[in-house]
């Protein structure tokens, strides 16, 4: 069983990432995106964007690209230490405040909001919320993840 007392309320250190155009183009290719706004900078500019926009679910990827040194779900020493063999993605949500673009520098912070068990501990649930802020402090997106751990 995950030690709830130890992990609930833990806030990661701020992680700094720059959104890379090359990765957004790779993401578009890997997902079969057909709208050139998401893989062609000229098309993005023609549509009124300053650069290629970060697509809606790529915030999860930005979060995964820079595991926190404190509170990461897989980290066995300084995080929750979930076994990758047992994890399932239960729910995922996003709230947006401002479009984010290739070249933007973001600060990412993740909070472990809740951990609970069901079925006598056969299933455990970890809720983590992540904030994405631009350099100037603007909150651009929030993500909320529910991970399911199958102990049975």
């Amino acid at each position: 069983m995950i030690d709830r007392e130890r992990h609930v309320g833990v806030v990661s250190e701020p992680r700094f990432v720059e959104v890379e155009a090359g990765f957004l183009i790779f993401f578009a290719k890997a997902t079969g995106e057909t709208d050139p706004v998401y893989f062609d900078e000229a098309a993005a500019r023609a549509a009124g964007h300053p650069a290629i926009p970060v697509p809606p679910t790529y915030f999860f990827s930005l979060h995964m690209s820079c595991p926190a040194k404190r509170g990461d779900i897989f980290d066995t020493e300084n995080g929750i230490g979930v076994d990758m063999m047992k994890i399932l993605h239960g729910e995922q949500g996003f709230t947006y405040h401002a479009l984010t673009y290739a070249g933007d520098r973001l600060t990412i912070t993740t909070t472990t909001e809740d951990i609970y068990a069901r079925k006598g501990g056969a299933l455990e649930f970890v809720v983590q919320a992540t904030r994405f802020e631009k350099d100037d402090g603007t909150l651009c997106a929030e993500a909320r993840q529910l991970a399911v751990i199958r102990n049975g």
Binding site: A30, T31, D35, T57, Y58, M64, I87, L88, E91, Y96
Partner: protein, 138 residues
């Protein structure tokens, strides 16, 4: 082509988006592109050791496809909030169909919004994602 101006009604459906079949290359590329290196999706030996028949698709791959359905319908800046539950594993070789239906039109903070029930299904008609999105209508 995304709508510049929307005149929509409750019960209206979004254009479907179909992707797949998902093969091992799809999963390898998505793992790399999405920074999601969970081995259950890319390493058959690891998946079998975990008691599964084989690797299965990232839930976030289908969620990315739902995002495409939404952003092909309205410009991304209209997407305010959305949430999905992953209700079943998406198996290797699945073809995924994304669907959406307007369930409510309402106002909040002076903005006209539509609530959209969204989901994805495999060709075996198993629902893999179930959720809703709130988009602004201008």
């Amino acid at each position: 082509m995304a709508n510049g101006h929307l005149e929509i009604t409750v019960g209206e459906t979004l254009p479907e988006l179909v992707r797949g079949p998902i093969d091992r290359t799809t999963l390898a590329l998505f793992a790399g592109a999405s920074h999601d290196h969970v081995r259950l999706h890319i390493d058959s030996d690891f998946a079998k050791a975990a008691g599964l028949d084989d690797v299965f698709a990232h839930g976030m791959l289908s969620m990315a496809w739902l995002a495409q359905m939404l952003t092909h319908w309205v410009p991304q800046e209209r997407l305010r909030h959305w949430n999905v539950r992953f209700t079943a594993i998406t198996p290797l070789h699945a073809t995924v169909t994304c669907r959406g239906e307007i369930t409510e039109i309402f106002e909040k903070a002076g903005e006209r919004l539509a609530r959209v029930r969204i989901g994805s299904w495999t060709e075996a008609n198993v629902q893999t994602l179930d959720g809703e999105a709130v988009v602004a209508l201008v």
